[in-house]
């Protein structure tokens, strides 16, 4: 199974997400910044990218925009501590497949990762508008 790319600056959250991925049979590649995440993305073929919005060097949405250029078909799951509508809409426009707000529930995270990581690759960027809707949008 392809590994899952986790871009999250908080090591404890990243570790928990990594453990969930491991349970689902995926190797987890943990990165603490957008730059390191994009470098890691260039090195492998991933089943899913999990992105935190509040990264120290750039916004997770900005990372998602660059992921769309590097790997248009890679499903992305956005997680954030800022549960606001603007971020959710921006994530949707950038083709995010999921959007979760912290604090995260393990079972919900696990189910979301399982479904997104096992989904066939999304259509190319030109047909992104017809991609499936967000699996779950939680807005605080």
């Amino acid at each position: 199974m392809n590994p899952i790319l986790i871009i999250e600056d908080e090591h404890a959250v990243a570790g928990a997400l990594g453990a969930v991925c491991k349970r689902l049979g995926h190797e987890a590649r943990l990165c603490s910044s957008g730059k390191r995440g994009l470098e890691e993305l260039a090195r492998g073929d991933f089943a899913l990218a999990i992105l935190d919005i509040g990264l120290p060097d750039m916004s997770g949405l900005e990372v998602l925009k660059q992921i769309r250029q590097q790997a248009p078909q890679l499903p992305a799951l956005i997680i954030t501590a800022h549960g606001n509508l603007d971020n959710a809409v921006a994530a949707k426009k950038l083709g995010s497949a999921g959007y979760l707000v912290k604090p995260l529930d393990l079972h919900e995270v696990q189910e979301t990762i399982r479904q997104l990581a096992s989904t066939p690759p999304a259509p190319a960027a030109s047909t992104r508008r017809r991609s499936r809707p967000l699996r779950r949008v939680v807005v605080a």
Binding site: D9, E10, H11, A14, A16, S32, G54, D57, K102, L106
Partner: protein
Amino acid sequence: MLVRSLSSLWLRLALPFLLFVVAGSIVLAIWLHASGQRESRRVFATLARTNADFIKSAKLPANERVANYLSRVLNMRVFFRHGAWDMVSGAQGGFSLKKSLETVPPITGALERYRGTLQALGEEQGIVETGGGFEAIAVPLEKDLSLILVHEIEPAWSFLLRPDTLLLLGAFWAFSVALAWVLARGFVRPLRLLAERLPHIEHDPDAALPGAERNDEIGQLARAYLTTRALLAQERIRRQQAERLALLGRMATGLAHEIHNPLAAIRMHAQLIESSSNGELATTAHESLPVMLGEAAKIEGLVQQWMFLARPQPPQTAPADLGEIVISVVRATAPQAAHAGVRLINEVPPGLRARVDARRISQAVGNIINNAIQAMPGGGTLTICGRESTTVELTFQDTGRGFSPEALAHYADLFFSTKEGGMGIGLSVTSEILKAHGGALIVVNAPSVGAIVTLQLPLLNERRERPAIRHPKPEPA
């Protein structure tokens, strides 16, 4: 200073007032001079007619002797005109008017002109100015006989020395002074007092304003200011309440935001343990429990910092080994640093001691390390050194992007942050903690790369006056 004095109300009033006094004095003097001259001529004419009547009633002869006698009595030149204008007085032969007038030196040169003037006088009994400072009057006694009086006109300035002139001018000046006093007392002084007092009553809501009790426009002005001040004070209270609520909202939002991450981690790791099978339980617990404890400690630290902001307390100091404090904080932050690719190098020598509140200094060191880790998103090195000179210093040098000029200017301001989503309390609290210890936080950019943050504390045996705990002031929203 000159411009300021020129623009003062005093001068603005004094100049026109001075002009008014000068112009008034001149007008008054001219009027006094004219009326004095009229009075002098009236007296002169009355004198001439009285003497003419006396000569007629006493049937005195119109000769030189009588003329000379009257001259002495009246202290002026007296002539009688008989027939032709060039012959006056002299029943026994008479004498020439020309000759007579030549005895009055000032009018000798103008004799011909005077003759014409006297002729013009004729029988009209008018007074003519003969020039040379003399005036004359002719009063008919009988046909072809007139009494002529010539007297010297007083110099134009002489009226100034007259008592009535001095009295009137003195009265006018006294009136002007009184008017100036009334204006100063009733208008300029209250306004000046008002202007002097206004800047000082802003901070004293109960302070009275001079002039507020008056019924005139100055009183209205003072009362209007007091009303405005009261309204502004109410507005200020409302604004402060709104600012406090906004601050409370930001603090609550900030606290919630900061706690979300460790809370999410604790919850997920707890659920990992909970959902572990018997076979993997021990391993999962071994991995997750330290993380959970670390995240719980992080939440505790955040709450402590917020409490410090909300209700600052003086530090509970005791001699402590700064090296041990640094080791403890480095150990706690090592997982986060490792995750960020940051290498922590602790070069603090053993035995570096200072009188500190260990918990607070741990928070300060933790804030600086976390800040440095966030400043190196691509990884790097954070070197921590310690030394003792005039102060005890801990220095944190990273290889990150350094502080922006704006961040260097505002790093100690509450809620100032250049990090997206950052709440900007870390360095602000750190700065306040050090100030409460009598120390200081110094932030500079390294010459080559990264930033150098220095934490200064007083020497262990140095008794330094600690400043009062100050509540950090937030930047205006």
